[in-house]
């Protein structure tokens, strides 16, 4: 009825359509900005475009990229999880300790992942069944998980792991690190799952309006708990892979990682209001932040200044988004 008339009234030119798509589709905006950084940096320093630099950046961002999958799903459902960095550290140390105790590698890895799932389950139950605010609940589990990791190791890294454990962390396929291939596969898999499976579509309804989702017959609590379990498991996976790459379990790993992940997801189009964001967008957010950091390191910008820049990028991205929304409203 009305929509067709609307379309005809302001049939936009191709150019303005493209511009509008760029402004309104976060993935495209980010992709263009990422390309921009690459182009500018390749003129500024020849090292930037080198394979070794790309490999370092790609491998370095794998933990964040894996965890951002869970975070983006949680954000779309109107929740979030601050405990991811701690759970990553805990699983890396527990797996390392198990290996030192002689537990076979596959068993240790599975136990590490189960640990993450349990942490996620705990978060999910605290938030849905008991009704604790996600900020408070995951702040608590963040502290507990980190504390357990430190208690188990008395604050020291756990090294001298069996050499076979380091395989995944070091191997390459056609010159591409296995870690990167694995991470990209997960991104693609979950991006498609979130776009196309009935289960994951439910998170957008929950995030947009929890009560309406419940009235639509969606099992809100069940979906939420599963999302937290998934996030915990992904954080644990990141921890296992980190341990494999570093050949040690580090109880202090992933400090403040949860905030980096949140920032990247939000830069990638997720919102704390819930109901929006994609895995691809969140991943591009991670890439964008990693490239900015890398570029600044290459330009010998101090690490303290990098923090300021990342903070400014985060705020600008969200502010820009608000302005675009207000324009189109």
């Amino acid at each position: 009825m009305s929509l067709q008339t609307l379309d005809k009234q302001d049939a936009p030119s191709l150019m303005s359509k493209v511009i509008s798509a760029c402004l309104h589709t976060r993935e495209i905006t980010l992709l263009l900005m990422i390309l921009g950084i690459v182009v500018v940096m390749s003129f500024v320093t020849p090292y930037f475009l080198s394979a070794s630099n790309f490999r370092a950046v790609a491998v370095g961002m794998t933990p964040t990229a894996i965890i951002v999958i869970g975070m983006a799903i949680l954000l779309a459902s109107g929740g979030f999880d601050l405990s991811v960095g701690s759970v990553m550290a805990l699983s890396s140390t527990v797996v390392a300790l198990l290996l030192l105790a002689g537990v076979p590698i596959p068993v240790a890895v599975v136990l590490g992942l189960v640990l993450g799932a349990v942490a996620g389950l705990a978060n999910g139950i605290l938030i849905t069944v008991i009704g604790i605010n996600p900020l408070v609940a995951t702040l608590g589990t963040m502290s507990i998980a980190r504390g357990i990791a430190l208690v188990l190791t008395e604050g020291f890294s756990v090294s001298s792991l069996p050499p076979a454990f380091g395989y995944i962390g070091k191997a390459s396929l056609f010159g591409i690190p296995l870690l990167v291939i694995l991470t990209l596969s997960l991104i693609v898999l979950f991006d498609l799952a979130v776009r196309h499976t009935r289960f994951f579509r439910q998170i957008y309804f929950i995030g947009a309006n929890e009560k309406a989702a419940m009235l639509s017959g969606i099992a809100v609590n069940r979906v939420r708990i599963i999302a937290y379990i998934l996030t915990g498991t992904l954080a644990a996976l990141a921890g296992v892979l980190l341990a494999s790459r570093l050949m040690s379990g580090t109880p202090t790993a992933g400090n403040a990682l949860e905030l980096q992940v949140l920032a990247a997801a939000v830069i990638g189009g997720a919102s704390l209001r819930g109901g929006e964001g994609t895995i691809l967008g969140a991943f591009l957010g991670v890439v964008f932040v990693a490239l900015i950091n890398n570029a600044m390191t290459m330009l010998a910008v101090s690490i303290y200044w990098q923090m300021i820049v990342i903070g400014a990028v985060l705020v600008c991205a969200v502010a820009l988004d608000m302005l675009v929304r207000r324009q189109s409203a």
Binding site: M1, S2, L3, Q4, T5, L6, H196, T197, R198, F199, R201, Q202, Y204, F205, A208, N209, K211, A212, A213, M214, L215, S216, G217, I218, A219, G275, E276, R325, R326, S328, A329
Partner: protein, 513 residues
């Protein structure tokens, strides 16, 4: 319809929330192929009845039977599995998602859990086709006009192939043409043996579509009639319990100076060319259907939404209101529509709530006097005969009517010259409603200018001196007290044909912030 087994039956059910008994030994049945209207004033218990049939509330006493079998309906998902679909008054769509996806929220056709988008689109188009609407089902819902969204909401309930469909005010945002289309669909459904429970304020709708009508008042069932064997008058009299409010029309002899004057207020895309005056001693109604922007216009008068163009004058002097606190200084009081989210601090005491807008009055040299606040609260409780355990009770535990009275009293505490009140009796019982009306009339008689924003047209017809009607952000007319009836307002408010509207939801939401 003698020997048929009811599709759904409430058997002497009761339900209390806290100490507030909202449903009291109610019997109700819905037969196959029947449209059964459920009517009552706000707070009569209609929504709670629907909630029990949809698994939102469990009855404290009594039972629910489906096709003759006693059943406990655990939650909405369970209700849907049992063949019960529901359309709620408040829109429950996810704005960013497509029309098609919203219609099948959580039930999209899928193979091995992967959504079949083509099938989803086709099925959504088929369902909407019955309304003769050619909507792009891939468009995000928040780009649609409100009335279309309501159709989407109805399509959502139909998508479940339910045997029982609960409709709570399904036409509140529909144009007359769309209402006709809906009725055709409903009649068609009943031919397939589906039963429909139809909740509405509009008597004319009920008498044109329903087979039977059950009247609730204060949580009790008053009667069930065949619509062919009763009259609108009888039903209305039963609803309000014998009171005939027509006799208490507001006497407009105390009307004085112009207190508030709006000249051509506009905000492109939201409202245009709004000009109106409010005089001392006058109660003016601002009427409109959902999507008419009546609330945003009221907010624009109260400094909560800034118009781009136009002039607002208070007592003849132009003012530039940019916040509610600015408006309060100019003598305006604003009682919001949403009591629980916008009006009250639910986990604070009755006293805290009462004085929240007038802290200054109870403060001397920077020191807040609890004694003074206590006295003011005591006065308000007595004047409005508020039922509360004490003034230290959290306001959450009061009934809707008592909460509403405190919210009004809170704004009267600020001693405004101009009171703007949005849906003054939403979800309150009849007693509280009369009391609130009475208080507004008294205040007007004392010289206050009152603007009542409402979608409850019978209320406006009895309470106000004149009614300004808005449709899609424009003034469409004014009706004097002597001419005002439910139907005369509705006809003006609904108009003949609705023009497209843009993203109203966004605007209304941002207007709150």
């Amino acid at each position: 319809m003698s020997k048929k087994t009811p599709l759904i039956e409430l058997q002497t059910v009761s339900k209390s929330f806290g100490s507030n008994k909202v449903i009291n030994h109610v019997d109700f049945e819905l037969l196959p192929g029947e449209i059964h209207a459920l009517v009552g004033e706000n707070g009569a218990g209609k929504s709670t009845c629907l909630g029990m049939m949809y698994g939102l509330h469990q009855p404290d006493a009594g039972s629910i039977s489906l096709s003759g079998k006693k059943t406990v309906i655990d939650n909405p998902a369970h209700a849907q599995n049992l063949g019960i679909g529901c359309v709620f008054q408040e829109l429950s769509l996810a704005g960013g998602l497509s029309v098609a996806e919203n219609i099948f929220a959580g039930h999209a056709p899928a193979t091995f859990g992967i959504v079949d988008w083509k099938k989803l689109r086709r099925r959504a188009e088929t369902l909407l086709g019955e309304f003769n609407l050619s909507i792009d089902v891939t468009a995000p819902v928040d780009k649609l006009p409100i009335s279309t969204r309501q159709v989407v909401e109805i399509a959502k309930a139909l998508s479940l192939n339910s045997r029982v469909i609960l409709l709570d005010e399904p036409t509140s945002a529909l144009t007359p043409d769309e209402v006709d289309a809906l009725f055709t669909i409903l009649r068609d459904l009943t031919r397939r043996g589906i039963g429909i429970i139809y909740v509405s304020h509009h008597m004319s709708e009920i008498f044109s579509i329903a087979d039977r009508v059950t009247v609730l008042r204060d949580g009790r069932k008053i009667s069930t009639h065949k619509t062919s064997e009763t009259s609108e008058n009888e039903v209305v009299t039963e609803m309000i319990g014998g009171h005939v409010p027509a006799s208490v029309k507001h006497a407009s002899d105390a009307i004085g100076d112009v207190f508030l004057e709006a000249e051509a207020l506009s905000f492109p895309g939201v409202f245009e060319d709004i000009s109106l005056t409010l005089r001392s001693g006058e109660i003016v109604g601002l009427a409109g259907l959902m999507g008419s922007r009546r609330s945003v216009i009221a907010k624009a008068l109260a400094g909560l939404f800034t118009a781009r163009d136009g002039v607002l004058k208070i007592k003849g002097a132009p003012v530039d209101l940019r916040s509610l606190s600015g408006a309060m200084k100019a003598g305006i009081g604003y009682v919001p529509e949403e009591r629980k989210t916008d009006g009250l601090f639910l986990d604070h005491s009755v006293r805290d709530n009462l004085v929240a807008a007038s802290l200054k009055k109870h403060t001397t040299h920077g020191i807040f006097s609890t004694a003074s606040a206590r006295q003011a609260t005591q006065n308000a409780i007595e004047r409005f005969s508020v039922k509360a355990a004490s003034q230290d009770t959290n306001i959450r535990f009061l009934s809707g009517g008592n909460q509403q009275k405190i919210m009004l009293a809170k704004w009267l505490e600020t001693e405004p010259d101009i009171l703007i009140i949005d849906e003054p009796t939403k979800g309150v019982d009849v007693g509280a409603k009369f009391q609130i009306h009475d208080e507004l009339r008294k205040k007007a008689a004392d010289g206050m200018a009152v603007l009542v924003v409402s979608s409850d047209f019978p209320e406006l017809a009895t309470l106000t001196d004149r009614i300004i009607v808005v449709r899609e952000g424009r003034l469409v007319g004014e009706i004097g007290a002597e001419m005002a009836t439910d139907d005369s307002i509705l006809n003006l408010a609904a108009g003949v044909e609705a023009a497209p509207q843009n993203t109203l939801h966004e605007v209304e939401r941002s207007a709150i912030q």
